[in-house]
């Protein structure tokens, strides 16, 4: 079990990297009036066939050969469903995968978001060639971090450089503070 939703995001988005995605979009949207928190992870990786999609929420299914359990997706699904929320995966071979989870925003069992900036930068650090887009919004306030914009500015410098990662992390933390402290 993960102690933070941002760790679930990290774990599930790493599957997108493994799937060969070149663009991974992470969406975090809170709607306080509707008491909902929506998290989505969408990629343009290799995708999955219908049979595999049905099995990925089974903790005893994995594509790994070293272990017979795969807990990342089941953990995320459980975290959503225990707050009265829902979980869905849409995937097509050759096109990509979209994972969508809805949480009860103020439900007592909803995990805190945790350090989303650290998760985002942990994804970037070993995968500077992959583009990530983070869209974060709480009601009408929000921001977007798009590594494609940074790549254009950096002129060949790696997105995985510690100084660049620290810059992006601080930008995300500032953005979350400007959204009323985040969720």
């Amino acid at each position: 079990m993960m102690p933070e939703l941002s760790l679930n995001i990290l774990d599930v988005a790493k599957n997108s990297v493994t799937a060969g995605a070149t663009l991974i979009q992470i969406g975090v949207t809170a709607d306080t009036a509707a008491d909902q928190l929506k998290i989505s992870i969408t990629d343009n990786g290799c995708g999955m066939d219908e049979q595999t999609v049905r099995r990925v929420t089974d903790p005893f299914y994995t594509t790994r050969t070293t272990r017979k359990v795969g807990l990342g997706v089941p953990f995320f699904k459980m975290a959503a469903e225990m707050t009265g929320g829902s979980f869905a995966i849409d995937s097509r071979p050759g096109e990509g995968t979209a994972v969508r989870a809805v949480f009860g925003l103020r439900h007592i069992d909803r995990m805190p978001m945790g350090d989303l900036a650290a998760s985002f930068c942990t994804l970037l650090q070993p995968n500077p060639e992959v583009d990530f887009v983070l869209t974060y919004a709480v009601d009408d306030h929000g921001f977007t971090i798009d590594t494609r914009e940074y790549r254009a500015v950096l002129e060949g410098l790696s997105l995985g450089e510690p100084e660049v990662l620290a810059f992006i992390a601080e930008q995300i933390r500032e953005g979350m503070r400007e959204c009323g402290g985040g969720v």
């Binding site: 079990m1 102690p3 650090q125 510690p162 601080e170």
Partner: protein
């Protein structure tokens, strides 16, 4: 929020430094287990602590990478340190607070921190 102009300034600073860095090799590898087991046990702050500490000390010959499950989930967060000509050292049950000791002792001074290794834990 920080602006693109600030990123450009950072880029210019870094480009000056990169000319020095390009002449050195990343011969020491620090590999952090980042599968579900590692992440759940606290690998993210450990990884970030390595990146920060190595950057703070200006160690140009160290590469920090991530891998999947290192095989002993109950001992996560686990980190492998690989130095040229040396046997691989596996550190277990790490926290971010233990990282500066490993960087100073092992990566800089070539002294394995034995009490943090898998050999001491098992």
């Amino acid at each position: 929020m920080k602006s693109i102009a600030e990123l450009k300034a950072l880029r210019d600073q870094m480009q000056a430094k990169m000319n020095v860095r390009d002449s050195e090799d990343g011969s020491i590898r620090v590999v952090v287990g980042m599968a579900t087991c590692g992440i759940a046990a606290g690998a993210r702050p450990v990884l970030n602590a390595f990146v920060e500490e190595i950057n703070k000390r200006g160690l140009k010959n160290v590469t920090v990478t991530q891998t999947g499950c290192l095989g002993v989930c109950r001992l996560e967060p686990m980190v492998e340190v690989m130095m040229p000509g040396e046997e691989k050292v596996t550190y277990v049950k790490l926290t971010a607070e233990m990282v500066p000791t490993i960087v100073a002792s092992h990566l800089v001074n070539k002294q394995v921190v034995k009490e943090y290794t898998i050999g001491a834990a098992e």
